[in-house]
């Protein structure tokens, strides 16, 4: 297993304040990893340490085996970083801005120009590539930032709050682009965000950061299972000739936790991992499941749990 990012016991102390406290996590190649937490949890500090822009007080982080503090050049060559509230040179056009970035990366203009056009098209800015960035909206700048990260052909992309301050349509566009780039180009992503609903959809794994500490890490289901126990789902079942007395019959099925009636349908609460058997049994009994809704753990719930515990 190749680890793209290995963070080990990272700690950063600012004037006696522990911004990041003994943080360890790993990110696999090709994964979309979400670093989540409320504002001030230490997400940006962690990201800056990963890029070697801030020195850890103790611990280390390695990107593709390069220590970020000791070999920042090698780390920055393979890593694209989109800072929160990214800015561009307003008097330059979108294309000129990207050209400056590729030149700083030592990419010749001949190789850079086709890439720039391609990624500006990907983010939907090809039509305005010769316009000054000063005229761009925040959403357009954010998308230009993503294009700017992609043109340097990175293996790992770190996005700091990529969706903050963007309208829902723009968010959708950005998230879809991330998923596509991850699949098509095999780029590893790390997103830091406080907006849970948005990133939960696309993250393979998340780490939840709270007061500088990683309080939970893993797939969202795993974290939820640990916190709330096994998952249960809700199923609505129809009967040709509705008989309320059939409730007891349904309750006998293994895995069914609870049966209620709602109008002329039965409402079953069931254990998720026995879903298939339950449905099979019900169908064999001549009943018809009309709605099956597995309950997912929302990151929000997970998050609130940690919030309450403090």
């Amino acid at each position: 297993m190749e680890w793209v990012v290995e963070a080990s016991e990272l700690t950063k102390v600012y004037n006696n304040f522990k911004a990041v406290d003994n943080l360890s996590f790993n990110i696999r190649a090709g994964e979309i990893f979400g670093l989540l937490g409320p504002n001030g949890a230490g997400k940006t500090t962690t990201v800056l340490m990963m890029l070697g822009l801030t020195e850890p007080t103790s611990g280390y982080v390695k990107i593709y085996g390069y220590n970020s503090t000791l070999e920042p050049m090698k780390v920055k060559r393979v890593t694209g970083y989109l800072p929160e509230n990214v800015g561009f040179y307003e008097e330059l056009t979108a294309k000129e801005n990207l050209l400056y970035l590729t030149r700083l990366n030592g990419i010749s203009d001949k190789d850079a120009l086709p890439r720039i056009e391609r990624f500006l098209e990907e983010v939907g800015l090809k039509d305005v590539m010769n316009r000054e960035v000063g005229t761009f909206s925040k959403g357009m700048k954010q998308r230009l930032g993503i294009a700017g990260v992609l043109v340097k052909d990175p293996k790992l992309i770190i996005l700091d709050e990529p969706t903050t301050g963007i309208d829902p349509e723009g968010v959708e566009h950005i998230l879809n682009l991330i998923v596509r780039m991850s699949k098509e180009e095999g780029i590893t992503f790390m997103l830091s965000s406080h907006l849970l609903y948005q990133v939960q959809r696309i993250c393979d794994r998340v780490g939840i950061l709270f007061h500088g500490k990683m309080v939970a890490q893993g797939r969202i289901e795993e974290i939820g299972q640990k916190l709330f126990g096994g998952r249960t789902g809700i199923m609505k079942v129809q009967m040709d000739r509705f008989d309320p007395g059939y409730v007891s019959e349904l309750q006998k099925i293994e895995g069914v936790a609870e049966v209620n009636t709602l109008g002329e349908v039965f409402v079953l609460r069931y254990e998720d991992d026995k879903k298939h058997e339950i449905i099979k049994t019900i169908v064999e009994k001549g009943l018809l499941p009309v709605e099956v809704r597995g309950k997912e753990y929302s990151l929000e719930e997970i998050y609130m749990r940690y919030f309450q515990e403090g």
Binding site: L53, T54, M73, K76, N85, V86, F88, Y89, L104
Partner: protein, 312 residues
């Protein structure tokens, strides 16, 4: 061939400087004033003037109430330097481009070196073009062509002006690193400029009066000592250093600064000095000016290399 980080930053900044409106406005002001000043001076030069150094006289002489070209450079030059430097780093920070820049695979010193040298190049190109245009006007107005000696002296003057303005550039860059806000950096730069250009003279006078009081019975030696103390203190100011350099370079007859006793002049031939000798006269000033610039740049460098790059 891909360019190195410093060169990429250098070319980008150079293009930015020449394209920026505030620079163009200041350039126009200096250009128009120096042009008119040298034209006025050319009208004022009498037929009895030293024909050998007519062109140099043009640069350094003032016609009536209008000050000389040299004065304008020493006065407006610092403003060019400050305008180019005061938001070098704080501006990038404010626009959110600093973290973008720092996350690229370039060394941190590439940013500050690229910006500094682009500023120096801008200053050099500006001064050179103004001098060339003045030369053209004076050749037209006076019908004299500068000789080799004059060209050499003007070149040395050009180098001195560039170093002088680069000092203010490096000071501006230093403040742009020390202060988070661009406006603070601009204000402090202007304050330092006012201090060195105006208040230094007064302060030097006050200190000299305290250290070596001149009474009614003071001997010539005491007066001389008083003047030496005063000029030593004034030489802390880069403006004074630059003034002395320009005087010595543009006036071949200048041999010493400060109070000179009649006895010391005995045996001196009142002939103009060759260029090499003129440079020797102000060599300490030259070295001090370069040292001041390097000190500012070195502090900026160290500060910037150690600075935390926070996104916001």
């Amino acid at each position: 061939m891909a360019m190195s980080g410093v060169r990429v930053v250098f070319w980008k900044e150079l293009a930015d400087y020449f394209g920026s409106k505030r620079f163009l406005i200041l350039f126009l002001i200096i250009f128009v004033t120096s042009l008119s000043v040298s034209y006025m001076a050319s009208q004022g030069i009498s037929a009895t003037a030293d024909k050998k150094y007519l062109f140099l006289t043009l640069l350094s002489s003032s016609a009536g109430a209008v000050p000389s070209f040299v004065f304008f450079i020493s006065f407006f030059g610092p403003l060019i330097g400050i305008i180019l430097g005061f938001d070098a780093i704080s501006g990038e920070r404010a626009r959110g481009t600093l973290s973008l820049l720092m996350s690229q695979p370039i060394y941190r010193d590439a940013v500050i070196n690229g910006k500094f040298w682009a500023g120096v190049a801008t200053v050099a190109i500006t001064i050179a073009s103004i001098i060339v245009i003045i030369a053209g006007v004076s050749m037209y107005a006076l019908g004299v062509v500068p000789n080799a000696e004059e060209i050499g002296r003007v070149f040395v003057f050009f180098v001195a002006s560039t170093i002088y303005i680069s000092f203010w550039l490096s000071l501006g860059i230093l403040f742009s690193i020390l202060f988070e806000r661009t406006s603070t950096s601009a204000l402090v730069s202007i304050m330092v400029w006012i201090f060195f250009t105006f208040f230094m003279y007064m302060i030097a006078g006050v200190i000299a009066d305290k250290a070596v009081p001149i009474t009614k019975t003071a001997t010539a030696a005491v007066v001389a000592k008083h003047e030496t103390v005063k000029s030593m203190i004034m030489r802390i100011s880069p403006a004074v250093l630059f003034e002395e350099i320009s005087i010595a370079i543009l006036n071949p007859s200048v041999r010493v600064f400060g109070v000179v006793f009649q006895s010391q002049l005995k045996g001196l031939l009142p002939t103009p000095l060759p260029l090499g000798q003129s440079i020797m006269v102000v060599w300490p000033q030259f070295v001090s000016l370069i040292a001041l610039m390097l000190v500012c740049f070195a502090i900026s460098y160290v500060k910037f290399m150690r600075q935390e790059i926070r996104a916001t």
